[in-house]
């Protein structure tokens, strides 16, 4: 008996009792669709996290002062540290000190009575590479701006639209008004960057506008000299560890202190978040695997019943020349069709379900070919594993006994 005939005959049997077939498949459908949803949402959140860090620049090191220990004035990071590191430490590709001017500033919008909350950050020309900013119009802040303490700034395209109503060359040279506890500051726009942040993270919702200005100007306006941190991109990411210890020892020597600074490695953060995520995925997948196991047992149970019900048919088939192997193949095929169809439906429901769940938790689900092929493959494998025992029982039936069965 060839495979095609076997398939046709099995399909006919499976479809002849639709309600039973559906109920049998239900376990597999639930199992497979949960696996699909978990994988799609897991991949989606991983992609979202990676994208979040991409805008920050992966491999970026951020040097900051530890906050838990007794801090003295001499320990604070200042521009002197920046110049010292630039001078003394090799292996740095880009370096940008940051000074957080104000997290509580407001930008005056087109309609003079409206304002929008903004974060104002002072930095240097290299901040463009740290922040992965793309300049659409004009230029980024330059080292010259820092040196001359120019009253200039770089804003995002979204901010330009809100403040000037348009976003093109004509905005360059115009002034924006920033209100803060320091009063109103007027800054000349020299460049517009692209706002790549499409995800609605808490940070971007809280600070819709982001203004970047020369660090020297920023310190002057907001009267301060303590850096929030220094962001560094190493020349060679492989030697990041060596660079980190060089930076820490240079700072300790410079400040004549020890263990006052730490370095945050964005790659490590991505890794640790991903590993937490994968533990969660493994755990939920384990639960899904149990539901697949239960589904498989359901299939086995119904196949056992089917074999008993169709004892007579098996006897007839054997009498007219079906070999044990033909009967075995037929029942295994039926089990595979049951679970395979369950897998396909599970895939469909999982696909739909992952978009629904994605909407609820605001994550774009990511379908992977591996998950799709895996889901269908696993469900078929369940068919084989749980179909073998009933099929062997069917194949081993004695034709005379089977023919006598009523």
């Amino acid at each position: 008996m060839n495979i095609l005939e076997c398939l046709k005959s099995s399909l006919r049997n499976v479809l002849s009792n639709k309600m039973r077939t559906f109920l049998t498949m239900l376990g597999i459908i639930i199992g497979i669709s949960s696996v699909i949803i978990i994988v799609a949402i897991g991949n989606g959140s991983q992609a979202a996290i990676e994208k979040e860090f991409e805008s920050f620049g992966s491999g970026t090191l951020t040097v900051s002062l530890v906050s838990s220990k007794d801090i003295e004035t001499r320990d604070l990071l200042t521009m002197d540290d920046y110049y010292m590191l630039k001078e003394d430490v090799s292996g740095i590709e880009y370096m940008a000190p940051t000074y957080s001017g104000s997290n509580n500033a407001y930008v005056k919008l087109l309609n003079p009575t409206e304002t929008s909350k903004a974060s104002v950050t002072g930095s240097t020309a290299d901040y463009k590479y740290i922040n992965n900013d793309t300049v659409l119009y004009g230029r980024y802040i330059s080292d010259n701006d820092v040196e001359m303490r120019n009253n200039v700034c770089v804003i995002q395209d979204t901010t330009a639209k809100k403040v000037f109503g348009i976003c093109d060359e004509s905005v360059l040279g115009q002034k924006i008004k920033v209100e803060s506890w320091k009063g109103t500051t007027k800054l000349t726009v020299v460049g517009i960057t692209e706002n790549t942040d499409t995800s609605s993270t808490e940070y971007s919702t809280e600070y819709p506008e982001e203004i970047i200005m020369p660090i020297s100007t920023c310190m002057k306006v907001f009267t301060g000299s303590t850096l929030g941190g220094i962001s560094i991109v190493p020349v060679d990411a492989e030697n990041s560890d060596a660079l980190q210890s060089n930076i820490l020892s240079a700072l300790s020597t410079f400040h004549k202190n020890s263990d006052k600074y730490y370095i945050k490695d964005s790659t490590e953060m991505v890794d640790s978040i991903n590993s937490i995520l994968s533990y969660v995925t493994i755990f939920i997948s384990f639960v899904a695997a149990i539901s697949l196991l239960v589904g498989g047992i359901g299939v086995m149970n119904i196949m056992m019943v089917t074999v008993t019900e169709r004892t007579k048919e098996i006897g007839i088939r054997k009498a007219i020349g079906a070999k044990n192997r033909d009967i075995l193949l037929q029942f295994i095929t039926e089990a595979i069709i049951l679970t395979g169809m369950g897998g396909l439906f599970g895939l469909l429901f999982g696909w739909i379900g992952s978009y629904i769940v994605g909407k609820i938790v605001s994550i774009t689900p990511v379908m992977s070919v591996t998950a799709i092929v895996g889901a269908v493959g696993i469900s078929m494998a369940i068919g084989i594993i749980f179909g073998v025992t009933p099929a062997r029982k069917a194949a081993a039936l004695d034709p005379i006994e089977a023919l006598r069965f009523e």
């Binding site: 049997n13 007839i316 009498a319 020349g321 079906a322 044990n324």
Partner: protein, 237 residues
């Protein structure tokens, strides 16, 4: 060489503690083209005989030569092959598969023989026409009368062009008119050269055949040709 030859066949059944000897020292030779009735009361061993002749079962002892081969020691899969190609079965309760159409039922032995679809359909149609059922071939068994169902079963038994047609009480579930029709079909097939072996307990039905082998208590007690054979149209020879 005879078509089939049984030599010192014994069949023992173990029913718990009790061993039952269903067949004792059976010796039987059937030539090609014969039309044999196996008769006997229930428990006489005729059904066991049928199962062994039909290669559904193996004897406990003895040799069974089918076309010169001793099939008594064959493995399951070789026996299945013989049932498929050399033997055609007709049962009392028809034993058609209810979900398949008449045509598909007839095709089934060819499916197991590995024949292509087109050849299967043509051969099955031919077999159905031969037994006088050229129409209604797309109907399911439960839409056919008893006589029609048995014709489908005969067509199925014939489709792989077997050496022997085995019939187990083929008229047991039929009315007298259908019985005559079915027996006439067997006679016609026998005239065309098909060897027919039939188990029955009805003497009237046995009168249609050419030879009667009588069983009692697992042994052959009588083996004689049929006199005054009933022929087609109900005439006596």
């Amino acid at each position: 060489m005879p078509l089939l030859k049984l030599e010192n066949i014994y069949k023992k059944y173990n029913q718990g503690e009790l061993a039952v000897m269903a067949l004792k020292d059976i010796n039987l030779t059937i030539e090609e083209g014969e039309f044999v009735s196996i008769m006997g009361t229930s428990g006489s061993g005729k059904s066991t005989m049928m199962n062994i002749l039909g290669c559904l079962d193996r004897p406990t002892e003895g040799a069974y030569y089918l076309e010169g081969e001793d099939v008594a020691k064959f493995r399951d899969s070789r026996l299945a092959d013989i049932r498929n190609k050399k033997i055609g079965f007709v049962f009392q309760s028809f034993n058609l598969l209810p979900k398949l159409s008449a045509l598909e039922n007839v095709e089934l032995p060819m499916v197991y023989a590995g024949a292509k679809r087109k050849l299967r359909e043509e051969t099955a149609m031919e077999a159905l026409t031969k037994v006088g059922l050229g129409e209604r071939v797309r109907h399911k068994p439960n839409e056919l009368s008893g006589g029609q169902r048995q014709r489908v079963a005969i067509a199925r038994a014939l489709v792989n062009d077997p050496s022997i047609l085995m019939a187990d009480e083929p008229t047991g579930n039929l009315d007298s008119r259908s019985t005559v029709e079915i027996m006439e079909i067997f006679q016609r097939l026998n005239d065309e050269g098909v060897t027919v072996i039939m188990v029955t307990h009805e003497p009237d039905v046995a009168q249609f055949t050419k030879r009667i082998v009588l069983f009692k208590d697992g042994q052959i007690i009588n083996d004689h040709p049929v006199e005054n054979r009933t022929l087609s149209g109900g005439e006596k020879a």
